[in-house]
Symmetry: C2
Subunit: 196 residues, 2 copies
């Protein structure tokens, strides 16, 4: 990911590097502007190449999305552990992850794409949700697990929307630390909910 001004005369012979640069550029672009508003030329420009090359490497815009967006799911491994402190761990892991990418996490890209009815993104999102359900399944006790996990997911989606997509209001200006605290409390309320 270089941000050179003009089309630098790139050293050649580094196809893998360029491929990675394109993927990185795509991730950022999709997260920042959504699938529809991101053009292949956008991505190419950010990566310092021509759009022809992008298509040559990835075949189509959709395949580019597919290659760029799926994030290392490893983070969710934090779920394992004492159910008592689970809400706090989820909150911390979520906030840290978003902060690391400066708000252009693939999760944001996926939400944006799903909101535009991109079939590909919906499929990815489904997989992601199923995976995370599976993780929770071993950790959380009590009935109606699915419903509570879905509610936690929805809450996180809403927070992400407010903070990283809409980017306005208290949730957007709140410090990471305060967000972790607030999120911990709210997630606890949802997760420990004993329903009807």
């Amino acid at each position: 990911m270089n941000q050179d001004a003009a089309p630098t005369k790139k050293r050649r012979r580094a196809p893998e590097e360029r491929r990675a640069a394109i993927l990185e550029a795509a991730r950022a672009a999709f997260a920042e502007r959504g699938f529809a508003k991101t053009t292949v030329r956008d991505v190419a420009h950010r990566a310092g190449v021509t759009h022809g090359l992008v298509l040559r490497h990835f075949g189509s815009k959709e395949q580019l999305f597919l290659a760029a967006v799926p994030s290392p799911r490893t983070l969710m491994a934090e779920v394992a552990g004492d159910p008592k402190t689970l809400p706090a761990r989820i909150a911390r892991a979520y906030v840290r992850r978003m902060a690391e990418s400066g708000g252009s996490d693939p999760f944001v890209a996926m939400l944006r794409a799903v909101a535009s009815e991109e079939e590909t993104a919906k499929r990815l999102f489904t997989v992601m949700q199923e995976d995370s359900l599976e993780m929770y399944r071993h950790v959380i006790p009590g009935p109606k697990l699915e419903e509570r996990v879905a509610a936690v997911g929805a809450h996180l989606i809403g927070v992400t929307f407010s903070r990283y997509i809409f980017r306005s209001g208290p949730l957007a200006s709140m410090s990471d630390e305060q967000l972790v605290r607030q999120l911990t409390r709210h997630l606890r309320g949802i997760l420990l909910d004993q329903d009807d």
Copy 2:
């Protein structure tokens, strides 16, 4: 007499009716497919007119959005009343409203449009949030009002996303009644939260 096959035979001389039909079609289309994926021709077709007429009436796609999407704000009036039962009232009002429109409420259209970085939609959304904050302000006691209202809003956004945009998972298949109950509990947890 030429009575076209597909397009309605439409009696003329009812410009207001047609205008309304276009607005209705626009609302549905924007809610179902998002701003970017909705074409002026889509809307025109749904309303049984040509895209030329749509543009003639509303000037541009953006102005059409602006004319169609802002929803009657009246619903939020339900907020007033005993703070004790507020969560339940919010939950009921929300679920009823979404159910009435069969999931193509303007709120959905706005979320989709905001997720695509439509400036117009972001402005509308800002106004809507400010209005609702104002309503809550008279009703809810305690400190950090803004943060708690924002959290409630975020939760509702997330639920809307899961149930009416992504349309998959427990939140999507849950009955209206169960959703009201679950939402009531979760909103209560957020609203009554005594924070740091």
